[in-house]
């Protein structure tokens, strides 16, 4: 058995931009994901972190072909996702699932909780009988810490944290191997976040799940992940295991991002040096030439504006930066 469950190579998602004239000519592309490669091993959690608009959610969606990638390949358990016809893709989708960011928008308000959690069982024809389905929905609700008696209630009767648990139960319904968690705690209150994080951890341990954990909150990603990929403007700038990334960030963007995360400890806060980045993230319609980070990089030097750095191994990290010899 291959150790790598998900293998992403040069994944590219470009959204076309059309002119406003009578003939809506294709004038440009939003390069939301622009050549992203990473691997996720069985049973591990890869954290994908980046600021809003960097393409992390699009990456997650393209991975499951919920958005069609415009380039690159995604291999899931040695199956090339891109080559699958609609029927085959549907069969494969039983083995992958997604937990969405907003528990208020991702549950149909007109479906009861039982229906929401049971729907994947119907779609994939997994329940042998009505009683079997009833039992399994009950089990799923219990697994995420909700009472099976809630099955006839509707989403509006639940709090944000409980709704996110319903979303998790739905994702678990088909007994998937791999779950893309897209900002699963961002919409929740602080005291509720911890409960959902612990639940995801328990489920991973008990069911042997593999996660892609997408978040903008580096503290949450660090808490949760075995390895972390840092994304900036459609590209991955650094991948390393969690301790390594924290102690020795290589890429200047990773360094800045780490230093910007406020630590809940005033003594530490006063003593640390914060790297304040200048300016804003450039538009993905017209990204800078060379390294995407070069207009804001405090360590910019000669090759950065002209040559694309390539993700290369350097001291246990994969880093895309000319400082570490990542030349094209």
């Amino acid at each position: 058995m291959n150790d790598v469950l998900v293998d992403v190579q040069d994944l590219e998602v470009h959204f076309p931009v059309y002119g406003s004239g009578l003939i809506r000519s294709h004038i440009n592309d939003v390069q939301a994901v622009d050549g992203v490669s990473f691997q996720i091993r069985r049973g591990e959690t890869l954290g994908l972190v980046g600021e809003s608009g960097c393409g992390k959610t699009t990456t997650g969606l393209a991975l499951l072909r919920l958005i069609e990638p415009t380039g690159g390949t995604v291999t899931f358990d040695d199956i090339d996702m891109g080559s699958l016809a609609a029927g085959q893709l549907r069969t494969l989708r039983r083995r992958v699932a997604m937990i969405f960011q907003d528990p208020y928008a991702s549950l149909d308000p007109r479906m009861s909780i039982g229906k929401i959690v049971g729907e994947p069982l119907d779609i994939h024809d997994l329940a042998r009988s009505r009683t079997d389905k009833h039992r399994r929905v009950g089990d799923l609700l219990e697994m995420v810490g909700l009472s099976p008696d809630y099955r006839n209630r509707y989403p509006h009767e639940f709090s944000g944290g409980q709704r996110q648990r319903v979303g998790i139960a739905r994702a678990l319904a088909t007994e998937p191997d791999f779950i893309v968690c897209d900002e699963p705690i961002a919409a929740l209150d602080v005291s509720i976040q911890a409960g959902v994080m612990n639940l995801l951890e328990d489920l991973q341990r008990d069911l042997g799940l593999t996660y892609l954990f997408i978040a903008h909150d580096l503290s949450a990603v660090q808490h949760f992940s075995d390895r972390i990929a840092v994304m900036y403007l459609g590209r991955i700038v650094e991948v390393a295991d969690r301790a390594n990334l924290y102690e020795h960030p290589h890429h200047p963007y990773t360094e800045a991002l780490l230093s910007a995360v406020p630590v809940p400890n005033p003594v530490v806060e006063r003593s640390r040096h914060r790297i304040i980045l200048e300016g804003d993230v450039p538009s993905p319609i017209d990204p800078p030439t060379g390294c995407n980070f070069n207009p804001r990089c405090p360590k910019v030097f000669e090759p950065c504006a002209s040559q694309d750095p390539v993700l290369t191994a350097a001291g246990g990290h994969d880093v895309a930066c000319h400082l570490y010899g990542g030349e094209a």
Binding site: E51, S52, S159, G161, D189, V190, S191, Q193, A194, G195, M197, N198, E201, H216, D217, L218, S219, A220, Q222, H223, F224, R242, A243, Y246, E247, A256, L257, L258, S259, A260, V261, P262, V263, P264, N265, P266, V267, V268, E269, R274, I276, L277, G279, D280, V281
Partner: protein
Amino acid sequence: MTEPILEVNDLRVRFGTKRGVAEVVNGISYDLHPGETLAIVGESGSGKSVSVLALMGLLAQPPASVLGSARYRGEELLGMPAKDLRSIRGKRLAMIFQDPMTSLNPVRTVGYQLIEPMALHLNLKGGPARERGLELLELVGIPSPDARFSDYPHQLSGGMRQRVMIAMALACDPDVLIADEATTALDVTTQAQITDLVAELQQRIGMAVIWITHDLGVVASIADRVHVMYGGRFMEQAAVDDLYATPHHPYTEGLLGSLPMPGPDRPERLMTIPGLPPDPVTMPSGCSFAPRCTYADTDRCLQAVPPMELLGNLHSTACFYPLAVAR
């Protein structure tokens, strides 16, 4: 100690709703001194935003009813005639809101909105107002202010919009700046830019800041004093170092324990607080945290509201069984 610039005493806010009276703020008191940064921390629904909207006179009455007292330099703000309040609000007391997209007017240019408070409060118009507007944009770190002056809000990024909001708030050199979740909608690197900017401006201008947030990480990096709010009451108040080092209230302990700490070591399991925040229409009769508290007992905690008690150097908590206190 200097005279407090703002004194809030037993502030209460209620709303009449179809289901009954919602008790959103249930008697909070604090002083704010010139130049200091006070953080009010709480989760959504704790009443933190409503409490400052009330003292700014920004709640429509009815449905709200505001009781208690809030004095700015000795002058009572609550119940002050609208005309008088207008001469203080936006001039001496300024506010920045959470969402810079919805709190800027989308059909007016940045420049127009920036000049508006100056015309109103300082009688500054035309050339001098524009001059001052450009100065402010520069002060908050907006590149090429000349060009941005005639831009509309949608042409700016989130961070830039929040900078414009700050520039507007600073237009009349306020004594007190209230920042209501001012960085919540922003990315961390932009958040760092904004908190840095406010701290720098504070040192330069000497204004006091009330920072309202749910993020204990941000609080650690900017606040002098912290008040932890839950169910419309303060649970604990302390200097920032004391609060993080020795939380006395079980709620504060729970909040701090539920935060993932950035660090190289494999983290421990996070603490969780069972249950849900209270419904303001059916507030518990005792301590508002008692139904979720692991230390609560039935006789005292569920029956009576614990008073705020001073336990150490400016460190007080409203709990019958405070933690980490020799008794």
